[in-house]
């Protein structure tokens, strides 16, 4: 019995995700897998990702993983990370491709000429440690301070069309959504596996989360 399946669709390095989950859930059986059957049988699912949206969607379908992801996103504890958050929405302006459509809304790019209040240029990708302001007491924020910093690296962000989905926001320089949740699903733009103690706490919370 696999406790946690980390979905591998060939985009990017999942070693970090596996290392971090192993650190917070040492007794759990954790596998990195591209096998839809293993995903279907796992107790909980992590959906990570790196790279460009058109490639991610193509690779996911080439490996016949779409249905396994859709099923998990509706039926068991599910954690999306970075592109794994973005892919849940309906459409991305990155390559102008349709995504999985689990959640209503779209994925858009940061502007090309961003500046902070002092006039300094803000670089894209948004890379580094930024503050996360969460909106309510979701179990996955347990033990994590309000406005704690997490590690981000991305050029696109999600725009949910339902306010109720929004779990947290960050600023660059304007507020953008960096975490969403619905029922058994939680998804974040930042990388908890690379966010030191706060990130490990979030993963630990996920590993024991029992959504009703």
């Amino acid at each position: 019995m696999v406790d946690i399946a980390v979905i591998d669709y060939g985009m990017g390095n999942l070693r970090s995700v596996h290392n971090a989950l192993s650190a917070v859930a040492p007794d759990a059986s954790i596998v990195v897998t591209g096998d839809p059957d293993v995903v279907a049988q796992a107790g909980r699912v992590v959906f990570p990702g790196q790279g460009a949206m058109p490639d991610c969607m193509r690779e996911l379908d080439m490996r016949n993983l779409r249905n396994a992801v859709l099923d998990a996103a509706h039926n068991k504890p599910f954690l999306g990370i970075c592109i794994g958050l973005q892919m849940l929405f309906e459409r991305s302006t990155e390559g102008d491709v349709p995504c999985l459509g689990v959640l209503p809304g779209q994925v858009v790019r940061f502007g090309h000429d961003l500046h902070d209040a002092e006039g300094n240029r803000l670089k894209v990708p948004h890379m580094g440690w930024n503050q996360v302001h969460y909106s309510d007491g979701h179990p996955l924020w347990q033990g994590i301070a309000q406005d704690e910093r997490f590690y981000f690296v991305h050029s696109y962000y999600v725009q949910p069309s339902q306010v109720a989905l929004v779990q947290a926001e960050s600023n660059y320089p304007l507020p953008f959504v960096c975490a969403v949740a619905r029922d058994n699903l939680f998804a974040v733009q930042f990388h908890p596996e690379k966010s030191h103690t706060a990130g490990l706490q979030l993963l630990k919370n996920f590993a024991s989360w029992n959504p009703v």
Partner: protein, 252 residues
């Protein structure tokens, strides 16, 4: 808002962390895994490992070090040195690196940057540029650990790397490296202003004010330093507190 990053750099050869002056005169600083853990405890935002091993025989050592560090340290890890082909990028990522830094091979084969970023994403491709001033306001790119002139203008080269898919630039002033007199601020400013992607300033840090100057005057998104941390002059935490006192947003 986004914090400016402080990145301790570990130059590794034969399984040890070393540091030289102007790319020569190496001095032992200790065990890489132990040092990585110490900087992680002190609040480092990322760690960079540069494999400066001269012979290919010892290449396996860096993989074992990265595997060991990645199991214990949960912040981004960048690894560079000797990366020549897409397969080298893959092997380092599989060992636990989050980003791979490419220097000489980007000049020898610029297509490597396009291929590697297309395959693994721009976010994990760092192009390292070693630059030396050749005239006021002009800097030339050097390769092979600073031994070989390329004739390339550093700002133009950085722009080309951005276009090919680099996610970040690690910019080292050869004139300042190991000097402890501060970053080459005009160089840092020129490259940072020209690019949309983040720039890490490197080379020359001797005190905490230099880190502040790199951000405020150089416009760097991150600052990299080695010897001020290795030999116990300052902790990463002290550096961050000093930067925060100077009004720079950092992760404390």
């Amino acid at each position: 808002m986004l914090a400016k990053r402080i990145i301790p750099c570990l130059d590794v050869t034969a399984g040890r962390v070393v540091k030289g002056v102007s790319f020569v005169e190496l001095r032992d600083a200790g065990d890489p895994v132990e040092i990585a853990r110490r900087y992680d405890d002190q609040g480092a935002d990322e760690l960079t490992f540069l494999d400066i091993t001269a012979t290919s025989d010892d290449r396996g050592i860096i993989f074992r070090i990265i595997e060991e560090v990645a199991r214990q340290v949960f912040i981004p890890l960048t690894v560079g040195g000797g990366v020549r082909q897409v397969e080298d990028v893959r092997n380092l990522l599989n060992a636990g690196a989050d980003k791979v830094s490419i220097n000489t091979s980007a000049v020898v084969n610029p297509q490597l940057i396009a291929d590697a970023s297309a395959r693994y994403g721009s976010q994990c491709i760092v192009v390292a540029i070693d630059a030396k001033q050749v005239a006021p306001g002009h800097w030339e790119v050097f390769t092979h650990g600073g031994r070989k002139a390329t004739g390339l203008d550093a700002v133009q080269w950085a722009l080309k790397m951005q276009k090919l898919g680099a996610g970040e630039i690690l910019l080292t002033s050869m004139d300042r490296d190991g000097s402890k007199i501060g970053f080459d601020l005009p160089l840092t400013r020129a490259v940072s202003d020209a690019l949309e992607i983040p720039v890490i300033a490197s080379g020359g840090v001797g005190n905490l004010q230099h880190l502040v100057d790199g951000v405020k005057q150089g416009g760097a998104d991150a600052v990299l330093a080695a010897s001020i941390f290795h030999y116990g002059e300052y902790t990463v935490q002290q550096a961050k507190q000093f930067m925060a006192q100077q009004g720079i947003e950092v992760r404390l």
